[in-house]
Symmetry: C2
């Protein structure tokens, strides 16, 4: 029990900017003199439509999204898109998936329900500590698309280049690093992301799709997965996840106020380096993620043994930090340091790590 806010290193849902929460709180009973909460607004009302349109416009501005891309705000997070991408884009029925961790594997498994999926690379032999180079990718000819997961939360890896796909559209799950740095959207066919890491709260999937990839839907798919229907209806075939879109809007405004994605990238480089440089010089902590494949969003490492991992987690909670326990698939420690984690939070963790090392080496 604490009156203070903790430093929350959760991989997702995760820490939000304090200003965003304060605004949501202050507007809870009466949004800008409308006499009601955003939670209570008809999605067909002009007040809500403005929130929706502004959110889309801010995302377009922040990510510099070209005019020939559509932005969709859909139900269900990234997992819903694992299947939707395959159901919408598989014309030839063939797609290549690069497996760099848990979620890219799940995406590939889901897509394999709907077509011929080829694994262009699988990092299981190096325990997903490595992002493949261009030469390591076995991409087929004559496919509908290549799918990557751009940041792997469990293993703490991230793509630091845009792979060549031999002309096929590149589809990227950016759930855990969207908005953390500028990306050249024009190099992607589809970008999608669950909102609950860098964009807001769970229950919203953001899809950024090049218009020519929106084709007449197949007849036997659920309507919420039909990209053409959702694009035609501007994501309002049915009631959208309206409050989650509002929170996304607050987050985007916060990012813009901080200085946009360039500033986010600067901060994220600085925050990640603080931990990674220390881990590299330490002979106590074990940090196996390969240089060049490291994520700025999730830093996964270990102490010398499981008992110390558990002690680290326990003592970190007592020190006012939460969710530093590594994913059950890999154990150890994981610090998720998304946009909303301030530099001071990472510094605080670093001091704790140093002290823990001294006391337990």
């Amino acid at each position: 029990m604490t009156n203070k806010r903790v430093y929350n290193f959760s991989a997702g849902p995760s820490q939000l900017p304090l200003e965003v929460l304060e605004t949501a709180r202050d507007q809870m009973l009466n949004y800008e003199g409308s006499g009601m909460s955003v939670m209570e607004m008809s999605h067909r009302s002009s007040t809500y439509q403005k929130i929706f349109d502004d959110t889309k416009a801010t995302l377009k501005r922040l990510m510099n999204i070209p005019d020939n891309y559509k932005i969709l705000f859909l139900h269900g997070g990234a997992t819903q898109q694992f299947g939707a991408v395959a159901l919408n884009l598989m014309d030839k029925g063939r797609a290549d998936y690069v497996v760099t961790g848990n979620f890219s594997k799940k995406a590939a498994q889901e897509a394999a329900k709907f077509g011929d999926v080829h694994i262009a690379y699988d990092g299981k032999d190096n325990n997903y500590t490595h992002i493949p180079t261009q030469d390591e990718l076995d991409i087929r000819d004559d496919i509908d698309y290549v799918h990557i997961c751009q940041n792997n939360t469990i293993y703490g890896t991230e793509w630091n280049y845009v792979p060549d796909t031999k002309g096929a559209p590149l589809v990227a799950d950016m759930s855990s690093d969207i908005l953390s740095r500028p990306v050249d959207v024009s190099r992607y066919g589809v970008i999608y992301a669950g909102a609950q890491k860098n964009m807001g709260i769970a229950g919203l999937g953001v899809v950024i799709i090049r218009e020519d990839l929106i084709k007449p839907h197949k007849e036997n798919i659920q309507v919420l997965a039909e990209y053409d229907t959702m694009a035609d209806k501007d994501s309002m075939y049915n009631t959208p996840p309206a409050y989650a879109i509002y929170v996304l809007g607050l987050v985007l405004k916060w990012v813009e106020k901080q200085g946009g994605l360039e500033e986010m990238e600067k901060r994220n480089i600085k925050k990640a380096a603080l931990l990674q440089d220390y881990l590299d010089q330490s002979d106590f902590y074990i940090y196996e993620t390969e240089k060049g494949s490291r994520s700025r969003m999730n830093v996964a490492f270990k102490t010398p043994n499981k008992d110390l991992d558990a002690k680290f987690v326990k003592e970190s909670i007592e020190a006012g930090m939460t969710n530093l326990k590594g994913h059950r698939a890999v154990g150890g420690i994981r610090a998720s340091i998304y946009n909303a984690m301030p530099y001071e939070g990472v510094e605080y963790l670093l001091q704790f790590m140093k002290k823990f090392e001294e006391e337990n080496r």
Copy 2:
């Protein structure tokens, strides 16, 4: 622009109890000493798990849900269930749909993508002012289920009995009247509802399903539509719409504190009668919904002409009421008076209606 909260007659998303909003506001920065907002909580944390479990337990208690039913909290609202019900329950590939309005029609159209759908009744000839009697239902033998939409928001009708389905499981979309009165859950195979009317905010679909209807999923459906997977994982195959589930929990606690579904029913009967009795005796307003088919949640009526309808809507906004405009499919006026609409709100509307009649007759 107003500092006061308005009476919000929106069909959905719709007015929430003030206490619910106040609690959400007060807990926004720090939920019960956890040091974080519910928005920021890992769905795998013990704090969030308790919110989730309590919400499920409260719903089970309030609706008196038998032990052989599972409760699922899913992404995507009722529209996602239109297809999911068909994809999961159609073993024989045959289902009968009763069309009593817009959403039951959409549900039937969606199900027809996945199997042989027979329309057991269609109210289009009476402009959906009538709920069919048992004798009017043409239910086939040897089908997987019968589907009804229990309350029709656009037309203001509601089933006031549970139809006999010749032994087939009854599937009911209760999006707009769930929690408004006690129901005997054991008479239904599946109950589902989008949360944004009587349960909270958009982006959450609640499914209450008899266990024997949860069968091994077909191979070619999206994972979020697999009832067996979602039941096995207790709705957490992926990150659930976590904040929407929290708001549902707040709403359920509020309903329980008011006295549960019996008390809700009493209030709803009283509120609906206030409007309906007045409309019946008025020779100004036109109220065509048949007695015996009338909804306690949505009262749809008209003034003598379209100009007066528009004037009514305009002046009602000036008087501090919103969203009284009828659905674009039918025009006129619609007052949605869900659980959260207090008696005083309906009285206030009634006084306005009387005055408007005097001034415009």
